[in-house]
């Protein structure tokens, strides 16, 4: 009978992969608990009559769940993910279609579906994105020999991207654009011909240019501004969320102090409230009461408010460090799929983080992107944990190959011997 102490040391011994990445994940999780606990104050007040701990425990539960996912995924030999990627991708397409037509509508966009058994809503695009990037890594690694070829290299990589982005776009344009941009970056890294990439960018720009031009053309100065927003919003009902996009672009381009969207205004106030070195201190945010989604999309503003610019810089630093560590995994990984997997998933994650922070400081228009690992838990948090689990799985293999890895196999359980066999194969 292994003692508790024994079990713990066993667990620790079996926890492999890059120590820095583990550290970063745990650090971000801790920050997340602190900030989310603080930022859910007003939500807790409204929803559960001041019982703030509800959200704290919810977040902690997500943390535990996320860590378990990371642990189990990193124990799996990453080569399996090649097949898994294909299966997941196959599942994700019908799922996206289903969501588009039957999903729960929030703000006109149907992005969510409810899982029947565990009764949890999740954004199918998160799932699809993970599947897409895994699948893309697979395609890019497999096609390296013919990668410069339009038909044999470019098209097989392009088709899954177009499918996923096209299906996400009607409900969530910004997310589709972000996914598309990340995919382009991965294609660039994956040595797809620059010619093809620029061609793709050109085509992708068409809808964006359309929205921006409509926004610019219909924006008719200050006076009629309100009417125009209304009329466009009314007219564009048939175009789904077209009106919302136009309005957002207009808000962003023509924003004056008084007209700044409420969220942006409040986020800026939050940033202004924090100092350089020290913010208002943990749990002392004032803007959490006014900033919608303070615990989610706008958590970065709250971090700056509570921990100052230093805290904000630290978060950026951590994500860059994470990316750097993933690059080092890529460098050390001899197999193309593992290398691409590590790169693809880490870039995705960091780009999402950067996008979130850019929204917070109003560099780009408001989009609903979470800050990976920090925003309040939910399906996206779990999918992020999945990505990290897979990256760590690659890292664990790299370590193993470099000979530093797997210590003397403990004699006992059968389960373990099976695992080590897979590892050795």
């Amino acid at each position: 009978m292994p003692s508790v102490e024994g079990m713990r040391s066993q667990l620790l011994q079996r926890t492999r992969g890059d120590k820095y990445i583990w550290g970063i994940v745990i650090l971000l999780a801790l920050i997340s608990v602190l900030v989310v606990y603080s930022a859910t104050g007003s939500l807790a007040y409204k929803m559960s009559r001041g019982n703030n701990e509800v959200y704290l425990f919810k977040q902690l539960a997500f943390m535990v769940m996320g860590m378990l996912i990371i642990y189990f995924l990193h124990r799996v030999n990453y080569t399996i993910y090649s097949k898994v990627a294909m299966i997941l991708f196959m599942i994700s397409i019908p799922l996206l279609i289903y969501t588009l037509f039957f999903g729960a509508k929030i703000n006109e966009g149907s992005r969510w579906i409810k899982l029947p058994i565990i009764n949890m809503t999740f954004q199918t695009s998160d799932f699809a994105k993970l599947a897409l990037f895994m699948y893309l890594s697979r395609v890019l690694s497999k096609k390296q020999e013919v990668i410069k070829d339009f038909k044999k290299g470019f098209i097989p990589a392009l088709i899954p991207v177009l499918l996923v982005c096209g299906l996400i776009m009607p409900a969530n344009l910004s997310n589709a654009l972000l996914t598309g941009a990340t995919s382009l970056l991965l294609m660039f890294i994956g040595r797809i011909s620059l010619k093809h990439i620029f061609l793709l960018i050109l085509i992708a720009m068409i809808p964006v240019a359309l929205i921006v031009s409509v926004a610019v053309l219909t924006y008719d100065g200050k006076k009629k501004e309100k009417d125009i927003h209304n009329t466009i919003a009314e007219k564009s009902v048939s175009f789904g969320r077209f009106g919302t996009w136009v309005k957002r672009v207009q808000d962003f381009v023509y924003a004056k102090d008084t007209e700044t969207p409420y969220q942006v205004q409040q986020a800026k106030i939050a940033i202004a409230n924090g100092g350089i070195l020290m913010g208002l201190g943990p749990g002392n945010s004032r803007q959490r009461n006014f900033l919608p989604q303070a615990y989610n999309d706008f958590i970065y503003s709250i971090i700056i408010e509570e921990y100052g610019l230093l805290g904000g810089a630290f978060i950026i630093f951590i994500y860059l460090l994470f990316l750097y560590r993933c690059i080092s995994i890529f460098r050390r990984c001899p197999y193309a799929f593992g290398a691409f997997l590590a790169l693809g998933l880490s870039f995705t994650l960091v780009i999402q983080a950067v996008a979130n922070m850019a929204v917070n400081v109003n560099l780009v228009p408001v989009t609903g992107v979470t800050l990976p690992l920090v925003s309040m838990g939910g399906s996206s948090f779990l999918f992020t944990c999945g990505s990290i689990g897979i990256i760590l799985s690659v890292a664990r293999n790299v370590e193993q190959l470099e000979g530093r890895a797997e210590p003397v196999v403990q004699p006992v359980t059968t389960n373990e011997s099976v695992t080590s066999k897979i590892v050795q194969s």
Partner: protein, 703 residues
């Protein structure tokens, strides 16, 4: 490994791009915070911080006996936001499920509309999506607490859309009682004591800097400047609820009887000048009477009660003595080109000055004034000045208006001014001034300033006591005073008020007044009489001075001072006398000879009969079947059971009752009981048959 290297530079390039974006983000954050920071922070303050006024609680006005006359209580206006998300979510499920039970509860609580009617208005509001639907105004705290427990409402503001706005309103627990004097604390135009002592009562509202947080709740900002609200002070008036009630009831009764236009009754404590009661009633268009104006401090032509001032002047200057004679000319006398009429026909000619006063002869007074002061009218005016008839009394009540007394040489002065002034015309004096003058006579020549507030209190601790103030140590010589008293007592024994006080057990000194008053531009054509009575009691040891002034309707049947204002005075005097003055009468009752064959007991009807039956006593039952209270007494040798029911407003005989029964009877009638001794009631401070008022105190002694 060419491929790997090719990939690697791409990766590093991408990494650098990401890092640069990271730097830009950080730079933008620095820009927002350091460059624009001030702007955003000030915007935050303007959006989320506010200086709110913290209301100070207004002080309470108490009567002298500690009853609240005017106090602040919270009240609520209840609105419904029918567009509240919680109410409308799931297609209005919550609203639809609760509307029936809520309507039922509302109808039960407010009892002003049926449940169906409530349901209809609520549904209409829901359909209209009214965001600020007024459900009910001015709900008391107790009703509001109940309302909060109703279905839907108890789910809270977000789910029910119910909004309650609280406010503080002024409540006069005694409603109409001295209402005009206590005053109104409305924002626009305050009157009465609420106005006079506004600065004391209102306190000081404070300021507080608050920051709004979730759910529309505000919290004080630490370190934000604030000043505490300072609650208003309480004031204790000299008014006595019982005396006020007596005065008001007596006045009201007579006003209704005569359909009089308006009237007032004032009671002053002789030795101090404390106003114990000040009742003002005006007739409203619907025929009801209401405290609509402070008539007591508004000058009018006083009429005959002013003759006291004329007498003081004549006697002080020793122009006449009480026994000097004056010819009344049968009640009609022509002077200059006008005629003086005596309002009460007497047909007398040669009488003494005292008699002229007692008969309230206008001719007599006009003649005496004209003959004695005709050559030097300012001498007469100087007397009026010394008696302070030309100045305000200085009562602590805003709104007292200046009297008008013409002076020789003024353009209003004519040959008839002086003689008319002598009997109270061509002059404007307020009832309160008349009261002050009569009180000075009652108080042995010491004129007291009338006042209404005796103490200013803060949290029950007296901050300032206001002492009685003497305004004139001696208004006239001792000799004059003696003569004046003789005259005033004479009025009640020999003169115009003879009938009124016939058989009174105590002596009253006073003066009637009947004045024909001008009705605006119509002059004296409408025959509107102002009846008044001013006096004090008991005459040999004055305790209270009282003035009653009633303005009658045009062409009233009864208008003499003695028959309109007089009865009011008498009722007030009677009741004050029995309650406060007369304490010595017990002694005379005690000496009644005991007769053991006479007995009188009282008890609960059925019980008494049961007792009699079980003792097999024969008795005559003259009580009804269902009489609760019966009296068992010996009558011509046999036992009689008779019912004890008495008039509800009259004091019943308590003698012979046990304590339980006596208290029951008294409290049933709204009396407060003070008990001494044990056994059966032998004495009661309010005698049987006297009319009583609710809240009155009665002392009973048991033995």
């Amino acid at each position: 490994m060419d491929v790997k290297r090719d990939i690697l530079w791409r990766v590093y390039l991408s990494y650098i791009v990401v890092a640069i974006v990271g730097l830009v983000i950080f730079g933008k954050a620095v820009y927002i915070q350091q460059v624009q920071g001030k702007h955003w922070r000030s915007l935050s303050d303007s959006l989320h911080q506010k200086i709110v006024e913290v209301d100070a609680e207004r002080g309470t006005i108490y009567s002298e006996d500690g009853q609240m006359l005017s106090t602040s209580i919270p009240q609520f206006d209840v609105y419904i936001d029918f567009a509240a998300d919680g109410l409308r979510e799931k297609n209005g499920k919550r609203f639809k499920e609760n509307i029936d039970s809520l309507s039922y509860c509302l109808a039960g609580l407010f009892k002003d509309q049926s449940a169906l009617a409530y349901k209809r208005v609520l549904q209409q509001g829901y359909v209209d999506k009214d965001r600020y639907f007024l459900l009910k105004r001015n709900i008391s705290y107790r009703d509001y607490q109940q309302l909060k427990s109703f279905p839907l409402v108890r789910l809270g503001k977000n789910k029910s859309g119910f909004i309650a706005e609280d406010k503080s309103i002024r409540l006069n627990p005694y409603k109409n009682l001295a209402f005009r004097t206590i005053g109104l604390a409305r924002d626009s135009f305050k009157v009465g004591l609420e106005m006079t002592y506004d600065s004391v009562l209102k306190g000081k509202s404070g300021n507080r800097l608050v920051r709004y947080i979730a759910g529309g709740v505000s919290v004080p900002v630490e370190g934000g400047y604030e000043s505490e609200a300072e609650d208003g002070k309480d004031i204790v008036t000299t008014l006595d609820v019982f005396i006020q009630e007596v005065a008001e009831e007596a006045l009201m009764k007579e006003m209704i009887k005569n359909e009089a236009e308006h009237g007032c009754a004032l009671v002053m404590e002789t030795k101090t000048g404390k106003i114990k009661a000040i009742a003002n009633l005006g007739r409203r268009s619907d025929g009801n009477y209401y405290e609509d104006f402070n008539y007591a401090i508004s000058p009018t032509e006083p009429g005959s009660t002013f003759k006291l001032a004329t007498m003081i002047a004549l006697l002080e200057d020793k122009k006449v003595s009480l026994n000097s004679t004056v010819n009344l000319e049968g009640g009609t006398w022509k002077v200059a080109d006008r005629t003086v009429f005596d309002s009460e026909k007497h047909g007398r000619y040669e009488v003494t000055v005292k008699q002229a006063f007692e008969l309230s002869s206008n001719v007599g007074m006009a003649k005496l004034a004209l003959f004695n002061y005709g050559s030097a009218p300012s001498q007469f005016i100087r007397h009026l000045h010394q008696l302070r008839m030309d100045t305000l009394t200085g009562i602590d009540l805003t709104g007292e208006r200046s009297p008008v007394i013409f002076k020789p040489g003024s353009r209003f002065w004519s040959a008839t001014t002086l003689p008319w002034m002598a009997f109270g015309y061509n002059i404007l004096v307020s009832p309160l001034q008349t009261l002050t003058l009569y009180n000075a006579v009652a108080n042995n020549g010491v004129m007291m300033r009338p006042y209404l507030v005796s103490t200013i209190k803060d949290q029950g601790v007296a901050l300032r006591e206001i002492e009685p103030r003497v305004v004139d140590e001696k208004i006239c010589s001792e000799a004059t005073l003696k003569q004046l008293k003789e005259c005033l007592e004479g009025v009640c024994t020999e003169g115009t008020a003879k009938e009124l006080f016939k058989g009174s057990s105590y002596k009253v000194a006073g003066k009637t007044g009947t004045a024909l008053v001008a009705n605006g531009s119509r002059g004296y054509e409408d025959h509107i009489y102002q009846s008044s009575f001013a006096g004090y009691f008991p005459a040999d040891n004055p305790q209270y001075t009282c003035v009653v002034v009633i303005k009658n309707k045009p062409f009233a049947q009864v208008f003499y001072g003695a028959s309109v204002a007089g009865p009011v005075f008498k009722e007030i005097a009677d009741r004050l006398y029995t309650t406060f003055v007369k304490q010595s009468n017990y002694a005379s009752q005690k000496n009644i000879r005991k007769d053991s064959s006479v007995f009188s007991y009282a008890g609960y009807g059925t019980d008494v009969k049961d007792v009699m039956k079980s003792l097999s006593w024969n008795f005559k039952d003259s009580s009804g079947i269902d009489m609760d209270w019966v009296n068992v007494s010996a009558r011509n040798g046999s036992v009689v059971v008779a019912n004890r029911k008495t008039d509800v407003n009259k004091m019943p005989l308590l003698k012979g009752l046990g304590l339980k029964d006596a208290v029951y009877v008294c409290e049933e009638m709204g009396l407060k009981v003070d008990v001494k001794g044990r056994g059966r009631v032998v004495e009661q401070s309010v005698l049987a048959g006297q009319s009583i008022a609710k809240g009155q105190m009665i002392k009973i002694i048991l033995n």
